[in-house]
């Protein structure tokens, strides 16, 4: 690891100034950024530790929205029984992520900004990685192992997969993030936060240097209560998703009034499956229509070597998640 300077500002203004002056990276729980520093992938000259900023802590369930401070810990939220009742997709996608140890230190702001697990990105022995060293090529696409890569949103420069779980719940439910930076405050629809790799896979979000995520808000809609996060993975815990779905439904009798579907483990960014949602609106939600929605969700997937299974798996996961959400909408578990 390269030596670095360490700052621990006590308020937002100081933090923004510290980032500007030092050119350093933001440090929250550190489970992404310190990990990448240890393996030589990130070499910041400074870390600005924002965990002393009390105003970024906490979460509340309000009348029309749920607010999450950017420093709330993954592990704490998953245990909040009010949140479990109000928005199961938000808690399930947290506790099914990582391990208890990681969830105890990782913060929500850091969580949504976690980096890809592409093994070529994470190992500097590979000369080729456009995301790590722009213009160097892509070892994954150059004959590499791509069974864990993105089948949505990839480009010829990079097919890295966005590995996070919680982000799928956020994008499905139209979350917004609130930031403060050198240019003042911003409110950003969560769906706009991450950008596709295109020719510049090194750019992952629209955040500017020194722009700090302060909070995340999720509007409360009926489908949030009848929501579910289904995560398929080869081991029961502590594994990234092979495919996952964040879903929610609101029923009007038999017919679907509102439905949300987002896909994890398959895309370059958090990924909303709008066409699949549309296919269900106004129609009855049955095993058949759920399976059809799953297939529609994956209709334009771009298969990579070794990843064909994700298309079928993902479709089944969407269908399975919708059936659980339906049963929740009908008062079940």
């Amino acid at each position: 690891m390269r030596n670095f300077a360490y700052y621990s500002p006590k308020n937002l203004a100081d933090a923004i100034a510290a980032i500007r002056d030092s050119g350093g990276d933001i440090l929250a729980g550190g489970t992404t950024v310190v990990d990448l520093m240890k393996i030589g992938v990130r070499e910041p000259s400074a870390l600005v530790d924002i965990t002393g900023l009390a105003e970024l802590e906490g979460h509340e369930i309000g009348a029309d929205r749920i607010r999450f401070g950017a420093l709330a810990r993954m592990g704490h939220l998953a245990d909040d029984k009010y949140l479990v009742a109000a928005a199961p997709v938000l808690t399930e996608s947290l506790w099914k992520a990582a391990s208890p140890q990681l969830r105890n230190v990782a913060r929500l702001g850091g969580n949504i900004l976690q980096r890809t697990r592409c093994p070529y990105f994470r190992d500097t022995a590979y000369a080729q990685c456009n995301k790590r060293s722009p213009g160097s090529g892509c070892a994954a696409l150059d004959g590499g192992e791509t069974s864990h890569h993105a089948i949505f949103g990839g480009s010829s420069a990079c097919v890295a997969m966005y590995p996070g779980d919680w982000a799928q719940a956020l994008i499905a439910f139209d979350a917004e993030i609130h930031t403060q930076g050198p240019g003042g405050r911003r409110r950003i629809p969560f769906a706009d936060l991450h950008v596709l790799p295109g020719d510049t896979p090194e750019v992952e979000t629209i955040l500017q240097r020194g722009e700090i995520v302060t909070e995340i808000t999720v509007p409360i809609v009926p489908a949030l209560k009848a929501s579910h996060y289904l995560k398929a993975r080869d081991r029961e815990s502590y594994a990234f998703a092979s495919a996952s779905a964040a879903v929610g439904v609101e029923l009007d009798g038999d017919a679907v009034r509102d439905v949300r579907i987002a896909l994890g483990g398959v895309a370059a960014t958090p990924w909303r499956a709008r066409a699949a949602e549309e296919s269900l609106k106004g129609k009855p939600l049955t095993e058949e229509s759920a399976r059809a929605a799953g297939r529609i969700a994956f209709a334009d997937a771009r298969e990579l070597e070794g990843s064909a299974y994700k298309i079928k798996l993902g479709a089944d996961v969407v269908a399975g998640a919708l059936m659980t959400a339906k049963s929740r909408a009908n008062g079940g578990k």
Partner: protein
């Protein structure tokens, strides 16, 4: 005194481990110690064309950077590399295809940093010494190497395989009995199938480390090891030192599983660097580097042809094992000599083949010969049962045998069908409906599967020193190891039971090469072999004290013929009923203290085997002696569930019943068997070292992406240990159990997956992706 054998005794070292006072190798910090770090090759095959070490040298704290031209003592360590130590050493001595530990403790032929050649990705190319571990690692990151890259391939090509060894050396590698073609011509059913197992790495929790300190020409090395005497022999050879000048210390090991069995390059480089800088150096290998600086389980293809008559009796048995090896070693984990011992069959053909690819050398990983081969054999048996319309347990019963099918000697004991009966009972096998997919529970497809477990009983010469004091303590010393298995505890139990002392009064010292000879802790040998030496020492103490007290003018045994005195549970007993507790008798002797060397030699051990073990090699007299075949047996049954939507494969229940002779400690034995079964779940469903084909590199070199089973994957595990008496194997009647539990689990799971879904999966690990679109 309570009988301590075959009871559940809590580990004597548990408090030290829990409180952090157990000193592991990397906890030791000799005065003035510096830190080492390895830089490794990013390419697999080629030559180094340049190395820029200037940035590394300029890094604050970095004191020295060694490359192939500056590594000191180059000549003396030349040729001394161990990627796959002792590939031959688990093979019966007289059929060893390559040189054994005794001739060359590394048994490998390629030493990194010898010259500019690169023969595998992750090969050490430079060694950095610094004032802190952080500076050393940073220095290693800053080394810039350029290469002339040649073609490489990491996956073996099974079509390019060859029979292990050459000429005389290949004896035992191709075995034929009867006439396979004839056996195949008159069968009711044939199963012909190929089963594939992947590269796997041990990933012990305790990182690989080595700390070396030179004082003149005396050297001390602290390193986690399951074979301290092998390590010492290798180091002494490499540096031209007398073995008495080298100390190797390894009191605690945080998981070895075969990965800490031999002389490894990181140790040898650390020793060289410590010599050059004139200060002690400690290296802790990083997790990713652990994949290429020691060994792994090579990938393999298991080809089976099984033919049976309508009653299920095997008429033809063919097994060809093709395993991966490096370009410079023949790493032989010979599984065919285990599979052909399993079932009665008149016509048998087995071949042990290898295929080369560009990796470091593989080696031993828990049940190195058995895990892969029994995935194949026991899957094939299941396929055969289905073809025959037989219950899979019934098929095993029909083919059970009390004689080794090839060697034609009896088994010293064999409780295979008793194990099946016990496990079937506890598991509820009778509830299984044989039709595929016939058992469901909500969104879950349910399947039951079973498989045979076995492990050869390897027995090696061992000594042990026991000193007993009349005040009621005993000190047991031997160069054996506790690799986390409970050896400290069982050695104390054996002594306690024989000497009549509390377990806590028996102090066990192990893990140092200077102690009395004990074998490598590999191949599930330690309890049987080293334990028998402790047992012998205690009996000797009994005899010597009996002789002394019977010659005394007073005392309970005064005047008794010492030849008639026996030692039972710590009490000396005369035929006429007179008796005296051993500790009392000892206290009454003039010295009040006694020290003896106990020894374990089996009548089947040749002098060559004994010498091999004494030199740090593997001179096992098992599993087949001229008189007997010695194996432990067991049976496993598993319930598997496959989810209808996610295709996730889960294992809610895994039961095993095992018979392995005397069980010394029911608690630690249970843990060993359970641990093996858990690892079996991992082998079946989780573990695989992924590979990057174009650049011939291991890919998922961390324990986030190399999936090991976690607690949530392990639900009900039930272990039953059956009574079994075997007076042939050793005086304690102990067979090894360290590896038995893992054997068969993967096949049982694959068989259960087939039962649940109708999909036969012949490649490990079995993943969701294999079932998508199918079940």
């Amino acid at each position: 005194m309570a009988q301590t054998i075959n009871t559940a005794v809590t580990r004597t070292d548990a408090p030290r481990k829990v409180t952090g006072t157990a000193t592991y190798a990397a906890d030791v910090m000799p005065a003035g110690m510096l830190h080492g770090a390895l830089a490794t090759s990013s390419v697999a095959v080629g030559t180094l064309t340049g190395m820029d070490i200037s940035k590394a040298k300029a890094e604050p704290g970095v004191l020295a950077v060694f490359t192939h031209d500056t590594l000191p003592d180059y000549k003396s360590v030349k040729g001394f590399y161990s990627g796959g130590p002792g590939s031959a050493s688990f093979w019966p001595m007289d059929t060893a295809p390559v040189r054994s530990y005794a001739d060359n403790p590394s048994s490998a032929s390629y030493w990194p940093m010898e010259d500019v050649r690169i023969r595998y990705a992750g090969q050490p190319i430079a060694y950095v010494v610094a004032q802190s571990a952080a500076a050393a690692r940073r220095g290693a990151q800053l080394i810039e190497a350029t290469y002339d890259v040649s073609e490489s391939h990491i996956a073996m090509d099974p079509e390019q395989s060859f029979v292990v060894g050459a000429g005389e050396d290949s004896k035992g590698m191709v075995v034929t009995k009867g006439d396979l073609a004839r056996g195949l011509s008159s069968v009711a059913q044939i199963v012909e199938a190929e089963y594939i197992t992947p590269f796997q790495h041990h990933n012990p929790l305790e990182m690989f480390s080595a700390t070396a300190e030179w004082r003149g020409d005396r050297l001390t090395v602290w390193m986690p090891s399951q074979s301290v005497r092998t390590l010492r022999a290798g180091i002494a050879q490499a540096y031209g030192l007398a073995e008495t000048s080298v100390r190797v210390i390894s009191p605690f090991v945080g998981g070895a599983f075969g990965s800490k069995a031999g002389v490894t390059p990181y140790a040898m480089l650390t020793i060289a660097a410590a010599k050059a800088v004139g200060a002690p150096v400690r290296l802790i290998v990083t997790r990713p580097q652990m994949y290429t600086v020691a060994t792994f389980r090579p990938e393999s293809v298991q080809r089976f042809r099984l033919g049976a008559d309508a009653a299920g009796r095997l008429t033809a048995f063919e097994h060809i094992e093709i395993a991966q090896t490096s370009q410079f070693d023949q790493v032989v984990n010979a599984g065919t000599h285990i599979t052909r011992a399993m079932y009665a069959c008149p016509n048998i053909h087995t071949e042990q083949r290898l295929s080369r690819s560009d990796t470091n050398s593989g080696g031993f990983m828990r049940a190195p010969n058995e895990m892969q081969t029994f995935f194949g054999l026991e899957s094939a048996m299941d396929e055969l049962a289905i073809k025959l319309g037989m219950d899979p347990v019934a098929l095993r019963r029909v083919n059970d045998t009390d004689r080794h099918p090839v060697e034609d000697v009896p088994f010293s004991s064999r409780s295979l069908m008793q194990s099946y009966a016990a496990v079937a009972d506890s598991f509820g096998w009778a509830d299984r409906t044989p039709e595929v997919g016939s058992m469901t529970d909500g969104d879950w497809l349910v399947g039951y599967g079973c498989a045979t477990a076995t492990y050869p009983t390897n027995i090696l010469a061992s000594n042990a020193r026991v000193r007993m004091q009349g005040t009621g303590q005993a000190y047991i010393e031997l160069a054996a190891h506790d690799v986390g298995t409970g050896t400290y505890t069982i050695m104390a139990q054996i002594a306690a039971a024989r000497l009549g002392l509390p377990v806590g009064a028996c102090d066990v010292v192990m893990g140092e090469a200077d102690l009395p000879v004990a074998p490598i802790s590999g191949g599930s040998t330690t309890a049987a072999s080293a334990g028998s030496a402790v047992h012998d020492a205690c009996l000797k103490i009994g005899r010597q004290i009996a002789a002394q007290v019977s010659a005394m003018s007073e005392g309970p045994l005064s005047g008794v013929d010492p030849a008639g005195i026996t030692l039972e549970n710590g009490v000396l007993k005369a035929p006429d009923g007179r008796s005296q507790p051993l500790v009392e008798a000892l206290a009454s002797t003039p010295a009040g203290e006694i020290e003896v060397i106990g020894e374990f030699r089996h009548k089947a051990m040749t002098d060559k085997m004994i010498m091999t073990t004494f030199k740090g090699g593997y001179g096992s007299a098992g599993p087949v002696t001229p008189e007997m075949a010695m194996f432990a047996f067991g049976a496993e049954m598993v319930e598997v569930r496959v989810h209808r939507w996610t295709h996730e494969i889960r294992v809610p229940r895994l039961h095993g019943a095992f018979a392995a002779g005397t069980i010394l400690n029911r608690k630690t034995a249970h843990s060993q068997l359970m641990g093996g079964m858990i690892w079996g779940i991992g082998s079946a469903l989780h573990e695989v070292t992924e590979i990057d084909k174009p650049r011939a590199r291991f890919l998922n070199t961390n324990i986030a992406e190399y999936l090991l089973s976690v607690n949530a994957d392990v639900r009900e595990i039930r272990v039953e240990m059956l009574e079994e008496r075997d007076d042939y194997v050793n005086p304690l009647g102990v067979k090894g159990i360290g590896e038995l539990g893992i054997v068969g689990t993967a096949a049982a799971i694959a068989n259960a997956v087939h039962h649940a879904t109708g999909t036969r999966l012949r490649r490990l690990p079995i993943r969701m992706s294999d079932l998508v679109g199918k079940a």
